[in-house]
Symmetry: C2
Subunit: 356 residues, 2 copies
């Protein structure tokens, strides 16, 4: 069966302000110092497994230019541009419908566009195993990550102990982002995985589940998929897509469906969820500072600094994040990275839209 | 007797990097948000007491353009440009010699160019009283400031208890910058004042003391003063000045001379000694932040931020100083302001002279 990928690239990347902006969010930025953007990494690492003609990219209409610039080989019709964000269920449903129309049926690797994978060979082998598992029945496969600390920012997957079949585990349930005591209990229970947001299934499997659990969405997708490949597609998409129910695939399907399996992935996953990730990803100096750009650091430690054109001198500071851009500078305590949205709210309130 | 002023404007202002630079140090900057530079304030506040023709300005040769731009009314011959820094004794000696040549004798108000005075009327009345006291005998008058905390960055003046004559006190001794326990004991003793570095004396008084306590300097100044007002002045100054002994007026004269008096000045003095001064001088928000420029502050307190052209967003930080300029950004803990010279040393070591 044909292997295809669905890359979700419509995110706003607000936690990476001020580098990430509405007109160029996180997935279109290089955060690893190698000049390759997160999206380019996502596409490039699939090369040995999925042909570029079989990669579908769902994004917001305003990012079309960025997608074309960064992935010039991607066929134009493979870019599905949402006129407005409607969360992951419509995004995935649209791609699955289009792929079902083109190939009859196919395996879908449904992947975020802004995650980092350290061991790409192991990752590809995991995807292959997931494709094999997804081929059977109407199995829905999700990649899980074994937790190493009680993260409260991720959803969790509880797998059934003793259900291991060649590295594939039956899923008992999906659970939402926990509070800290709950996250600690999950870590202790040793039967929970982080939900990485990467899914593998046949187009037919996810669409059947959509028909059952999200019939309104399923019905709404039909005329859009019907128009795909015709001159009317964009018009129909813009007409019909905004009316689809806004829902996540986790809540809409994964928490209700049967035949869900997970493969714990040992491929070095990082969701690069905030500026804090940069010190994990990039090298640090002897005082645990991650310094990018022209930075002089004196008596300073545990800082993450992303310079731009000017010299930055640090003196006697610690646990700070500073990100410099041409028009905005962020100076943030490491404990406050989850509050960056408050800055964006204030900029909105002040009508400083050019800075969003 | 003629009232003249000698303004010392040759400082490098290193503690105000990155705004203060070798080619435009602190005294040529506006630090009070009103657009008036420290030097302009110093000259302007003397207006009711000293005519502009009687103000002499000693500075480094490379600041001539800045002085002419900022004080356009100052007669060209009143600008004494040192070819190299030689501390305050040669600076004051040169000005006293020139003034003695021009006026026979005169009162000199010897004043730093980078201090702030909050109550200018009281300041002028204090200068008048000091001039009266300096007129008698060969009295050397210094303005003292009653300490409010045990500052270790200033020299101290011990006055003789019971010596008060109409607000003028006899000085028992000058003492160098103390360590903290000593500074605390001075505060407790209640007979010590901060040495403000502002002096009032007759040209004849200081020159006689120079002849006695610094004969080498006195002799070296003679040919320079002789040439003042002639076409040869600049040539002679550049030839002879570098050979003068580099010494402070405090150590060279004030610690040795007799007839020293001090007037405790209640005119709201601030030497604006570091970035920490800005929160004293300028208004702060409800979280004790001094925010200048386009700054958004969320959950941040006790910060001093000098913005430039870009927006600065603060999030969850405290006790920080950030100063933005076109080519350099300082991020410094408030406890580290005295270490800014380490940044300058590192820039020098890296041959980044354009940033000094």
């Amino acid at each position: 069966m044909k292997l295809t990928a669905v890359i979700m690239a419509g995110g706003k990347g607000e936690r990476f302000w001020p580098k990430s902006r509405l007109n160029c969010p996180k997935q279109f930025l290089s955060l690893t110092g190698d000049g390759e953007t997160m999206l380019q990494k996502t596409v490039r690492r699939l090369e040995p497994l999925v042909q570029i003609e079989d990669i579908y990219l769902v994004t917001n209409a305003e990012y079309l230019t960025l997608v074309r610039e960064q992935i010039p080989d991607l066929p134009e019709e493979n870019i599905l541009s949402e006129p407005c964000p409607r969360n992951t269920a419509p995004c995935i449903g649209l791609a699955a419908s289009v792929i079902a129309k083109k190939y009859g049926d196919a395996i879908l690797f449904v992947l975020p566009s802004d995650h980092l994978i350290h061991a790409e060979e192991i990752y590809l082998n995991t995807l292959k195993k997931a494709a094999d598992a997804a081929m059977q029945d109407e199995n829905l496969i999700t990649l899980g990550i074994t937790p190493t600390y009680p993260e409260t920012g991720y959803g969790y997957i509880k797998y059934r102990r003793g259900s291991n079949q060649n590295g594939v585990y039956a899923v008992e349930k999906f659970v939402e982002k926990p509070d800290l005591p709950t996250a600690k209990s999950y870590l202790k229970a040793k039967s929970y995985l982080w939900n990485s947001g990467m899914f593998i299934w046949k187009a037919s499997s996810i669409l059947k589940n959509m028909q059952k659990h999200m019939p309104e969405l399923f019905a709404g997708l039909a005329p859009i998929a019907e128009a795909w490949g015709t001159v009317d597609f964009e018009k129909i998409l813009n007409q019909k897509f905004p009316a689809l129910p806004s829902e996540s695939i986790d809540f809409g399907i994964m928490e209700k469906a049967e035949n869900i399996y997970t493969i714990p992935g040992g491929f070095g996953w990082d969701d690069v969820g905030s500026w804090l990730a940069l010190e994990r990803i990039n090298s640090t100096d002897e005082n645990n500072n991650m310094l990018e750009g022209d930075v002089i650091s004196i008596a300073s430690r545990n800082c993450t600094i992303c310079g731009n054109s000017r010299t930055i001198a640090l003196l006697g500071v610690s646990d700070l994040i500073a990100v410099d851009t041409n028009d905005a500078l962020l100076i943030c305590h490491k404990n406050s990275t989850q509050e960056i949205k408050k800055i964006l709210a204030e900029l909105k309130a002040k009508n400083r839209l050019e800075l969003l």
